[in-house]
């Protein structure tokens, strides 16, 4: 529970003798809440006190949050950046405060392994983009007999770094498959309702037969697109929708034959972070950049189907929808 940390009043009052500070981009989304919860569990599991600040999506606030957290002289600073560039001062601040730094999920300028910037634990979003695009190529080949087709892309919040990275991966693959064309892009703001609006408008713009599939930068928007497609009676597109994040409702949509695939973007960095920190302390850390493994969920085989069902059961067990 998030309530506990409110009781702590200043450093050293935790049950262990160490403090880990976490600067979180935002706590407005379930993925990030789960990310924080997992981090807290891992930190407290290791007997340390967990303190956290929520940047509310504002890089300027996050810069100040980092300072606020460093002011409390934690033993480790973990940062999940709002976005890449503006957080460039963070390694310098950690250096100044003499606090080791681990960056998770998104990158920030700086080289892990230099000075106090110890490690970078991430998900490769470019690779995610590649994996999605490769699945699109397979799907289009299946649909049209060859790697040809017209795709619309509902993107996450314009300018967000995962959006740009994934686009890079998608572009890479599509460059090799000239037959597949991304004919339109629309900003769905990572949420269901704007995603749905995008799809509705695009369905008006492109009549039946004019597009073959939809890439959405997350499952929420994919689900919005599905709702729009069903409402418009354009069932030919069902099953040719690609999502991301592997949230429970997305996985269910795949089982229902409405979505083609999704990729997990696991928020659970806690274990890895604490392990890495241990290695830093023991001076045994070799890999300063580590990638979190991700899983592709695609109902193209019984095996795949089973994996999805298991994952759904797991999420239901945890009582969460995402991740």
């Amino acid at each position: 529970g998030r309530g506990e940390d409110a009781q702590a009043t200043g450093e050293g009052s935790g049950d262990g003798n160490c403090t880990v500070a976490f600067s979180q981009e935002s706590l407005a989304f379930e993925w990030m809440v789960e990310n924080s919860r997992d981090m807290q569990a891992a930190v407290e599991g290791a007997g340390c006190e967990f303190i956290q600040a929520d940047a509310e999506g504002d890089p300027a606030k996050q810069l100040q949050d980092v300072r606020d957290l460093l002011s409390r002289q934690p033993d480790l600073l973990v940062v999940r950046p709002v976005t890449f560039e503006p957080l460039a001062p963070v390694p310098g601040l950690a250096e100044e405060a003499g606090v080791p730094l681990i960056v998770v999920d998104r990158a920030l300028p700086g080289t892990p392994g230099e000075g106090q910037y110890k490690a970078f634990l991430t998900i490769d979003f470019v690779e995610t983009g590649r994996l999605v695009a490769e699945s699109v190529v397979r799907g289009m080949t299946e649909l049209n007999g060859s790697a040809t087709g017209r795709i619309v892309h509902i993107t996450g919040t314009s300018g967000a770094s995962p959006v740009l990275d994934e686009q890079e991966g998608i572009d890479e693959v599509l460059a090799e498959n000239a037959g597949i064309e991304e004919v339109a892009q629309c900003d769905g703001n990572y949420s269901r309702e704007p995603g749905r609006q995008c799809m509705e408008d695009l369905l008006q713009r492109f009549g039946a037969g004019e597009i073959d599939g939809v890439i959405a930068d997350n499952d929420e928007m994919a689900l919005g697109a599905i709702a729009a497609i069903k409402a418009a009676g354009r069932d030919e597109l069902l099953g040719w929708i690609w999502g991301k994040d592997a949230q429970r409702s997305g996985l269910e949509a795949i089982l229902a034959g409405e979505m083609r695939m999704t990729i997990s973007t696991p928020p659970q960095f806690g274990e890895l972070t604490m392990e890495t920190w241990q290695q830093v302390q023991d001076d045994t850390l070799t890999e300063t950049t580590q990638l979190l493994p991700k899983t592709v969920y695609e109902a193209d085989s019984d095996q795949g189907r089973q994996a999805i069902e298991e994952r759904i059961a797991e999420l239901t067990e945890l009582g969460i929808d995402c991740c």
């Binding site: 998030r2 309530g3 940390d5 409110a6 702590a8 009043t9 200043g10 979180q24 706590l27 303190i51 956290q52 600040a53 929520d54 509310e56 999506g57 504002d58 890089p59 300027a60 606030k61 810069l63 100040q64 949050d65 300072r67 606020d68 957290l69 460093l70 002011s71 409390r72 002289q73 976005t83 890449f84 560039e85 503006p86 957080l87 460039a88 001062p89 100044e96 405060a97 300028p109 919040t157 314009s158 300018g159 967000a160 770094s161 740009l164």
Partner: protein, 345 residues
């Protein structure tokens, strides 16, 4: 209503209706004066209360490391808030400040390489240009300020993202000195803010045009009849706000050593709230710049102190809301109690 009575009788004449007063009435007056005096100092009191709370909550509050961060963050929002203050005093609102700062940050980041420090001027110019666009829409287009700046906000965001859809890292060492230089715990950014405050304060207090800002915000029709060019005042106010938002963008770029097209979302509300905590009237024509700037510091300290005090971030939102409300409501209610009891206005 003390002033009203002074209206006719010289303060030292001592023969007005007030001398007919009996004991309790004098007491009533005195406590009234004390309370309304307090309400006039609301932001200073709140500021000191925040400092005190910070001090009590955490020994780290008064460290140079913490103050340095607080002051340089305050510098960015503060410079932005100067512009917001100027526009509000002149009777408007500027919703575009955050987006204009984003444009300026991305402009400075993308031009530093080619043009060197001239890029800073280009960035300031782009801010001023967007400010002028707001001013133009308000004066020539006769569009209410809130709509005009909402439109310009969209345009500015579009421009920022068109220049670069992702952030640009700055490496220019001269430029970076802006952020790295500090005098004790006082960062250069803060000094720049203070200088800008002093300049704008002097402009408003010492020039006729400065007085015209207050006049236009207070009653544009009277100002016009007195021969004041309302359009020019509004134009200047928005241009100034744009220029200052541009400056804030540059300061942010220095602080974050990068420019960012998506910067400044929600900053328009932050600046308005901060300035109002500083006692500025949203209806224009009145408010003290220095107090407004204390409002900025106070506003940021709310978060700083809660972070240091380890308050749950969701709870922070609740507490911040209640604090803003209290900061404005308490003095306003006190003032009304003791000054305008039941007056029909």
């Amino acid at each position: 209503m003390t002033n009203k009575i002074l209206a006719r009788v010289e303060p030292d004449a001592g023969t007005g209706p007030q001398t007919t007063g009996t004991g309790p009435r004098v007491g009533h007056r005195r406590s009234a004066r004390f309370l309304s005096g307090l309400s006039g100092r609301a932001v200073e009191i709140l500021f000191l209360a925040m400092v005190l709370t910070g001090f009590i909550v955490s020994p780290n509050f008064l460290t140079s490391f913490n103050l340095q961060g607080l002051l340089s963050q305050a510098a960015v929002l503060g410079v932005l808030a100067i512009g917001q203050y100027v526009v509000i005093v002149a009777g408007g609102f500027d919703l575009s400040v955050g987006a204009v700062a984003a444009v300026s940050s991305i402009v400075v980041a993308s031009t530093l390489d080619g043009m060197g420090l001239l890029g800073v001027l280009v960035a300031l110019g782009s801010g001023a240009a967007l400010g002028l666009l707001s001013g133009f829409a308000v004066t020539v287009g006769r569009i209410p300020p809130i709509v005009a700046t909402l439109g310009v906000m969209g345009i500015a965001q579009g421009v920022a993202f068109t220049i670069s859809n992702r952030g640009i890292v700055i490496t220019d060492p001269t430029f970076m000195k802006l952020n790295s230089t500090s005098f004790g715990f006082v960062p250069l950014l803060f000094v720049i803010w203070a200088v800008l405050v002093a300049v704008v304060f002097a402009f408003l207090k010492l020039t006729g045009t400065g007085l015209h800002f207050f006049a236009v915000g207070g009653n544009a029709d009277s100002a016009r009849l007195a021969g004041v060019s309302v359009a020019r005042v509004q134009m200047t106010a928005f241009a100034l706000s744009g220029l200052l938002a541009g400056a804030a963008g540059v300061l942010f770029a220095a602080r974050a050593s990068s420019g960012l097209p998506g910067l400044g979302v929600g900053w328009e509300l932050d600046t308005i709230a901060a300035v109002v905590i500083g006692g500025v009237s949203l209806y224009g024509g009145s408010g003290n710049l220095i107090k407004a700037m204390i409002g900025v510091l106070t506003y940021l300290m709310i978060t700083n102190v809660m972070n240091l005090g380890d308050v749950d971030s969701y709870l922070q939102s609740v507490l911040k809301g209640l604090l803003i409300l209290a900061a404005v409501a308490v003095p306003a209610v006190l003032r009304r109690r003791n000054h305008l009891v039941g007056r029909t206005s």
